[in-house]
Every structure is written in structure tokens, then in C-alpha cells.
Symmetry: C2
């Protein structure tokens, strides 16, 4: 079966987010009342797996071993069939 997963990677809440701070500064100049900005990445992966349980295991492995740095980042998976 073919699956499509979106893996969202965000800095942990207690970790500084310099990119978000830069965007906050820039958005401030648009005068839109922005008070806080956090940034993250999303990785959309298409892959083959036998069933949904195997697909979940695969996306967990991707997040843990490659896509997120567990010291400073959390990840969350949205799984769908392609």
C-alpha cells in the first residue's frame, strides 16, 4: 500500500527559535498586532508499507532517526493513504 505522511517538526517550547524571532520583528513592521511567532518544518513523504501499523512504525523511525533532533525538536505525524 502507498501512504503519504506529513511529518511536522517544531523546536521544543523551551528552546529559542531565532527564525521565529526574526519573523516576529519583520511582521511587526506590517502593523498587524503580532505578539508571537514560532516556526517549524513539514516534510511530506510518500512511501510503501504493508499496512497502517507498519506505516506508523516507518514514520516514527523517519522522525526519530533522521528528521527531528530529539534534543531540541518534537515531531508529530499525520498519516494518510496516497
Amino acid at each position: 500500500m502507498r501512504f503519504t505522511a506529513t511529518i511536522h517538526v517544531r523546536p521544543k517550547a523551551e528552546v529559542r527559535d531565532p527564525q521565529g524571532e526574526a519573523i516576529l520583528g519583520a511582521l511587526g513592521s506590517l502593523g498587524l498586532g503580532v505578539t508571537s511567532v514560532r516556526t517549524g518544518k513539514e516534510i511530506v513523504v510518500t512511501f510503501d508499507a504493508d499496512d497502517e501499523a507498519a506505516a506508523r512504525r516507518a514514520t516514527d523511525t523517519m522522525g526519530r532517526e533522521l528528521l527531528a533532533n530529539p534534543v531540541i525538536e518534537d515531531f508529530r505525524v499525520e498519516l494518510g493513504t496516497a
Copy 2:
């Protein structure tokens, strides 16, 4: 009213995504049957606006004027109240 919007920014489908290609190569080594990878950014913005219509206009302005490069990127907004 306080709103929280997640603005998803992705390269347009016809634009090359070198970061995605690099991740595809790296995920290949995990042997997980990955066939394609696309990457994007997500920006979570907390801001004040009078009502939902004003909040939508504000997030559109953020996406168009600052967060996405319209030549190579599309953006999509998820709006919620904080």
C-alpha cells in the same frame, strides 16, 4: 480578539525542492520504501484582530508580503482562536 494561525508555505509543485531531494536520499538508506519527499515551512503566528474576517485579511497579508515568495511558493492558512 486573539487568534493563532498556522501558515504553511510550500514550494510550488513544478519547482525543484533540493532539501526534499536530500532527505529522499537520506531516507533511502533507512530502507523504508520512500518514493518522494517534499518539504515546507510552517509559521505559527499569534496576533490580535477585531474579528475573524480581519484575522483572515491579516494572515493573507503576512503570507503574501512576507512569508511566501509568490514566484516559487504557495501558502495556506489554518486559523483558530487562541
